[in-house]
């Protein structure tokens, strides 16, 4: 124990380059050469004290010893201040010439370069030690062994003892220990010191100190294979042998095992040798930001910072009873047998940091010490020894967590930050992966909306205790009635002890008659007996050196006391004049000469008499202890806190990964991103942004809106019920939720959340087309504070506010299709349509799995010379059993489109999902067109025409070049001038110059039957035919008077030739307006057929939003399918495969139906046979399907 302390003193010296460690405390001795028993006791005390304070006892020579006190003043400056302040530099760097005057102090080894090498922001502690008394002091350089002996006066600075790198004392002490040990080691092993200067070792240990802090020590230095001195300590240490390295390793390990040394003792308790007071203190520091210990205060911190609490406790009545004659400081515990003491912390004591509640915890543990118990390291205390630093027998300092607990409260294991110490409590919430702190406190993040999220509190009964002493000095004062002359009694409060001086000592003139009187006189000034040695020293100076003395063997006479003889009266002189009534009886050794009892100032203390000198310490005959007097001043507590404020900003974005439109029942993928961004909290760290945990969640929603909602992506808004669906309203579903806590690991740089969600576009309402499918994402809480980088006042500015992304919307659309019934398609070109793979009838939030495929199809065959894409044959996209009878192909059964084009010739591209490619590109279509023209078309001018082979009985409407509008024909039909009442006979002469209408004229020679075409109406023009009215046979679909109705009254026909047919031949195209939905006619044109000329792009309410049915063959150069009807949501309500009510066929409802009506086949076939245009050469009739 003693050795280690001595080494510590040396370490301090080496590290700071000073030689102050060998000051000697020698205490007081008189000038006599004789040694008394009391002197021996004093020396023992001095030895103990040396051991305690780290001094070096080098002798007991009164000529070169002084008393001194430590820790009397100090200043903590920053590295930068030290670098810029000349006065400070003079103290640190040039002290030998500036601070000691005539006294030469050894040069310091701290240089400006050394300071420059310290990390930025490091604090430097300059601690001055003053001499209390004049005397000699020896400064020894432990490295060189050189000692310098010097004389100092009281108040002279005798040492600069502190310098460290930020956590002064603790860290510096450890560094100093290491320096000293290494230095000592080098000295012992004889390593060439020329290569290892003290300075370089100091620097090395400075690095080494960092190693200790970062934990690399245990990971690298203690690993044989990774013991890299070169990297960590310096090339100088490469000179060490392996054995030396091993020894150094052991040293390091030893250092690691040592508990931290407190930075300072507490004068309230530590230095109170005679007073008793109970003091509990809690301090906290943020090691990363170098806050220093803040007793009962608050530090700010961010997640990842390391904080540490320090609990100091000095309990009552300590050391009471100790005095110069009985230095063993036993505790006198009177008045009560127990003392209340408790540590508590926030979060149900989770933040006690390693302290087991068994010792100090929520159960209000009581320090139940017995009366007169000794509390100290030897016997253990109320807290475990390994938790307590017993720097005094009656106090302890507890570090929470302590060094040994450090790894249990760390989140970062490897971090070379100089701030990191390897102990303390690291606030969780840093992106480090495993974090032991969380498991200890149970809290993922210590961020709080209110200050003081982490705090520790000490509560205790403040008990003060004191002891009164009465020193009675008595001598053989013959004739005196007072045996207690020479009382020196004083009392002082505990708090006033430092102001105690000799002048306060009550002497003479007012002696207390009793102890009770003394107590009463003290009042509230609780007192204690002062050292009478001091008074002795005072009176020693006052004493007349001419004093006389006598004893039984001899007597002597000094000035004023001549002829002192035994058994005689003598006269002595003092400030009161002469007195002659001193009787020298020689009966007692010490008090050989005393005042006459009859003297008028009898009763005063005789040592004030001039010319007399006596020594109380040697003349004490009786000492009375007044007993212990405790008082409980009540419950006391102190709390230290750590504030970890929220800090973040947010950003939210949403996006729909689709084009401008999305389709009913199909899936749509949206992506969302939410960013938690760092911000600056000036209270924690200026100009350093960081983000903490977000105590909220992310919510993404989908909803249907009539139009794109405004807002979003702007300032935080309040969301009712914390549900975005309440904010947006309507048909809304939540599609993503993250939380309830975000950025759980508290990444300083924030955290990004992203999510992709595939959802189904609803298909369950008729009004969906044209509406908007929208998504948005929001995060709560939007920001930790309303103003970026604003100071934290208290908590968050608006915890209920949300940051909502801009709303992403897509227009809901549908894919109209067309169908070819009872026939097929033939083209020299290509066919390309679109298909829908939809979950039929799905509601918002339903499954995205498609249940039906819908698209355009034909029934019999497809012959396309080129590619056919997304177009089915065999009605394969028409009707799906599970949805029967309302259609839809099972999407799962479609691996390629060839699966639904089995009647397409030749499907030479299935691998490419391309069908068709028949390669048929001959001119047969042109031939067919010519044949149609040759048989059905007319020619001539507008007033006369040349009929074709149907002309005998057919009726004709003809224009040579101009367009023909069906509504005009209807008007003509309705005109009595045009035809007779039964609408069977037409007036050929009716018409305008551009419109010729007439019944057939003379038959061709080949025509032999008069009724070959009596139900036929041929409409032919060299321009366009504009179909703006329904054209119907019979009353079926046409019940409007404006419709063109043929054969209105006929139900039966006498021959197939006479079946009613309307053959529309337009050289330049056929335009169908929205007014026509039913066309029972052949459509033949060399141009384009437009199924709806009123089409308006993008308008779901288009006039073309109805299905067009063309019952008849269609021949055109191109077909523009503009109908937007059909493709309704859902499966419809029809009960049959082909419900005649198209509104009930749901998704399968087409925009256009081209129905090759059977009668056209009969009619055409019979017509063809008339002219031997068609001949059956082979018929193969297969067995019908059952």
């Amino acid at each position: 124990m003693k050795n280690s302390k001595r080494i510590s003193a040396i370490l301090l010296s080496v590290f700071f380059g000073l030689t102050i460690g060998s000051n000697v405390f020698a205490g007081l001795n008189d000038s006599t050469s004789e040694t008394s028993q009391a002197q021996v006791a004093d020396e023992n005390k001095q030895e103990d004290y040396d051991a305690n304070v780290g001094g070096q006892h080098i002798g007991n020579n009164s000529s070169n010893t002084i008393a001194y006190s430590r820790n009397v003043a100090g200043i903590e400056v920053t590295r930068e201040q030290l670098m810029s302040d000349a006065a400070l530099q003079s103290i640190v760097f040039d002290r030998p010439t500036t601070t000691t005057g005539s006294v030469t102090l050894p040069a310091t080894n701290i240089t400006q370069t050394h300071i420059e090498n310290l990390p930025a922001g490091t604090n430097v502690w300059i601690e001055f030690t003053y001499a209390e008394n004049a005397g000699w002091v020896t400064d020894t350089n432990p490295v060189t062994g050189e000692s310098v002996k010097r004389w100092v006066e009281p108040g002279d600075i005798i040492g600069v003892v502190g310098l460290n790198d930020g956590s002064w004392g603790y860290q510096g002490q450890k560094a100093a220990d290491a320096v000293a040990k290494v230095t000592d080691y080098l000295a012992k092993t004889g390593v060439d010191m020329n290569g290892v200067s003290v300075k370089s070792v100091a620097e090395m240990l400075s690095d080494y100190n960092m190693l200790l802090a970062t934990g690399v020590l245990t990971q690298d230095l203690l690993d044989e294979n990774a013991f890299l001195f070169t990297d960590r300590i310096g090339k100088e240490l490469e000179k060490l042998t392996e054995a030396e390295k091993e020894e150094l390793k052991e040293l390091i390990e030893e250092l690691l095992e040592q508990p931290p040394v407190p930075p300072s003792s507490n004068p309230d308790c530590h230095d109170a040798n005679h007073w008793g007071d109970t003091i509990g203190k809690v301090s906290v520091q943020n090691i990363n930001t170098n806050t220093g210990w803040r007793e009962g205060g608050t530090v700010w911190a961010r997640p990842g910072d390391t904080i540490q609490f320090k609990i100091y406790y000095c309990w009552g009545a300590q050391a009471v009873g100790a005095d110069d004659y009985n230095p063993a400081r036993t505790q006198h515990w009177t008045g009560q047998d127990s003392q209340y003491f408790q540590l508590s912390a926030t979060q149900n004591d989770n933040y006690l940091f390693g302290e087991n509640a068994q010792y100090i915890g929520p159960s209000k543990h009581v320090l139940n010490q017995p009366h007169n118990a000794t509390i100290g390291p030897a016997t253990g205390g109320a807290v475990p020894n390994d938790k307590v630093d017993y720097t005094s027998s009656y106090e302890f300092t507890l570090y929470s967590p302590g060094q040994k607990d450090g790894s249990n409260y760390n989140c970062m294991i490897f971090d070379f930050s100089p701030y990191f110490l390897g102990f303390g409590y690291q606030i969780p919430g840093v992106d480090t992966g495993g974090c032991a702190a969380i498991s200890q406190t149970g809290n993922m993040s210590d961020v709080s909306n209110s200050p003081g999220v982490i705090s520790q509190t000490i509560e205790y009964d403040r008990i003060q205790a004191w002891q009164l002493y009465k020193y009675q000095r008595s001598g053989s004062c013959a004739g005196c009635n007072y045996n207690d002359i020479g009382q020196i009694i004083d009392h002082r409060s505990y708090n006033d002890r430092n102001s105690l001086t000799r002048q306060n000592i009550r002497v003479m003139g007012n002696p207390f008659a009793s102890l009770n009187e003394a107590k009463t006189a003290g009042g509230n000034m609780w007192g204690i007996v002062m050292k009478h040695q001091n008074s002795t020293a005072q009176f020693k100076n006052d004493c007349d050196v001419r004093s006389c003395g006598c004893n039984s063997w001899h007597h002597w006479v000094v000035d004023g006391c001549s002829d002192c003889r035994w058994g005689q009266w003598h006269t002595i002189y003092d400030e009161h004049g002469s007195h002659q009534e001193w009787w020298c009886d020689g009966g007692y050794y010490n008090y050989s000469c005393y005042q006459s009892c009859g003297y008028n100032d009898r009763g005063a203390v005789c040592n004030n008499r001039p010319g007399q000198s006596f020594y109380e310490s040697e003349s004490r005959t009786y000492t009375e202890r007044g007993g212990i007097h405790p008082i409980n001043l009540g419950h006391q507590s102190q709390t230290a806190s750590v504030n970890v404020p929220y800090s973040y900003r947010t950003r939210a974005d949403s996006y729909i990964n689709e084009g401008e439109v999305i389709y009913l029942g199909q899936s749509v993928t949206s992506t969302f991103s939410v960013n938690i961004l760092p911000r600056v909290v000036t209270e924690v760290r200026s100009n350093e942004a960081y983000a903490t945990l977000v105590d909220g969640f992310i919510q993404a929603v989908e909803f249907i809106a009539d139009d794109v909602p405004g807002g979003g992506g702007v300032a935080p808004v309040d969301v009712p019920g914390n549900d975005l669906c309440n904010y947006f309203g309507g048909d809304c579903r939540e599609i993503w939720r993250e939380g309830p806590k975000l950025n759980k690991e508290g990444r300083y740089k924030g955290e990004n959340y992203s999510h992709a969600e595939t959802r189904a576009v609803p298909d369950d309402r008729d009004d969906l087309v044209g509406k908007k499918y929208c998504v948005a994402v929001g995060i709560s809480t939007a920001d930790s504070h309303g103003i970026v980088d604003a100071e934290v006042v208290s908590g968050m500015s608006n915890p209920s506010a949300w940051r909502i992304s801009g709303v992403s919307c897509r227009t809901i659309a549908k894919k109209p299709n067309f169908q070819v019934w009872n026939g097929g398609l033939y083209t020299n070109g290509y066919i390309e349509t679109s298909a829908s793979y939809k979950n039929v009838g799905v509601s918002l939030g339903g499954s995205t799995e498609p249940t039906g495929a819908f698209g355009s199809w034909e029934e019999y065959y497809v012959v396309a010379a080129k590619d056919v894409r997304t177009f089915a044959s065999g009605a394969a996209l028409g009707y799906y059993p599970s949805l029967r009878p309302r259609g839809g192909k099972d999407p799962a059964s479609i691996s390629t489109y060839c699966d639904v084009t089995k009647k397409t010739i030749a499907n030479d591209g299935c691998a490419e999902n391309v069908t068709g490619r028949s390669g048929v590109t001959n001119t047969s279509q042109q031939i067919i067109l010519e044949r149609i023209y040759s048989r059905y078309a007319l020619e001539g001018d507008n007033t006369s025409y040349v009929g074709r082979k149907l002309d005998n009985s057919a009726r004709y409407i003809y224009k040579k070049t101009d367009d023909i509008r069906i509504s005009d024909i209807v008007n003509a039909f309705h005109s009595t001038e045009m035809y007779n009442a039964d609408r069977t006979t037409y007036n050929c002469n009716y018409g305008t110059s551009s419109l010729k209408m007439c019944q057939g004229q003379s038959a061709n020679a080949e025509q032999t039957t008069s009724n070959y075409a009596d139900g036929t109406l041929v409409i032919h023009t060299g321009g366009k035919v504009i179909i703006d009215r329904n054209i119907c046979y019979g009353n079926g679909a046409c019940n409007n008077s404006s419709d063109v109705r043929l054969n209105n009254n006929s139900e039966y026909f006498t021959s197939m030739y006479g079946l009613p047919q309307v053959v529309i031949i337009a050289d330049k195209g056929i335009d169908i307006t929205s007014g026509a939905t039913h066309v029972d006619a052949w459509l033949v044109t060399n141009g384009t057929i437009n199924t709806c000329t009123d089409f308006s792009m993008g308008s779901p309410e288009s006039a073309c939003n109805s299905t067009l049915i063309v019952n008849g063959p269609v021949f055109a150069d191109g077909i523009r399918l503009n109908r937007a009807g059909g493709a309704y949501p859902g499966a419809g309500s029809g009960s049959t495969v082909l419900d005649t009510n198209l509104s009930r066929t749901g998704s399968i409802t087409p925009g256009e139906i081209f129905n090759l009506r059977p009668d056209t086949l009969y009619w055409a076939y019979s017509q063809a046979q008339r002219f031997t245009q068609a001949t059956a050469t082979y018929t193969r009739e297969l067995a019908p399907r059952y």
Binding site: Y879, P881, S882, R884, D899, L1182
Partner: protein
Amino acid sequence: MKAPKKSGFTLVETALVMAISVLTLVAFIATISARIGRERYKDATNSFADFVRRIYSETINVQNGRSGSIDDQNEYCTLAGQNAHAIAAENGAANPDSDGYPGRSGCAIYGKLITFGERYTSEEDRISPQDDDDRIIYVYDVIGRAIDISHPLVLPAGSDGSITDQLAAVNADILAVTKKPGSSDCAVNPVGTVQRFSPPWSSEIETTAKERNMFKGALLITRSPSSGAVHTYVLEITDDDKDLQFQSIIAHNRSVACDNARGVYDMTTNMNSNLNQYLKNGKFQMKEVNFCVGSDEGFMTVSKRNNIRVVLDNHNATGVEFIETDLSKDEGGNACE
């Protein structure tokens, strides 16, 4: 005075008159009876011939007996070895479209089978609408697996491509296992439609043998699965053919387990009639066949009888001919004598 003269018919005269009248009446009655017999014979033969002709017509102009209701879950047509889906499955929720042609069954109608002399031997073997009268002629639909590009006609090795081989290859049959309505049990029933023809005037269809044996066998009027052409095959069972008892043509394998879950017309060969087996073993012959109409009702007194002849490989109604037989001649058993 002379005695007065007596007047009236004598007893002889009266008796004579009465005898003549009786004879006349008898002769008249005999004449009437013969005429009636001839008319009935004529009616019976015409009816039978028309019946046969009608069957030809129905073979060519098929009237599909299936209800066509897609909601009828009993409308199945499952074929042996093909695992083809039934009609309802093609349209129903149980199974998806199997061949890319939704709503189309895997079966086709291959013609008619006219059976003669059916008689069930026990009530257990009775198949509706069998009657306990072997004069009744039944007409069944012959249904088999349809041929398409996905299910081509595959003839067995060694086949000469005959129509019967083709029919056997498509598992053509007339019976199927069906689930009894309202029950989980199964029964063997005709698939398709069944027609009954009862020869009028208690007549029966006989062979041309002098013994006037009842014709037992069958007339298969069928379409070629490959070409669609109509052909006629004859199965004639004689008493000597111990292995080919007529009634076995509609016999069925009663060891077949009832597939309650499906309740279908399961046309697996070994589940149903022996038609498929007979097709395979050549019992059906393409030959001319002559039917006679006989009766014990007296119209056999006609002097001339007509063969109802179905010509060799007849393919339409016109091949059903009347061949007048001169009973005074011996036709050697090829005519109705």
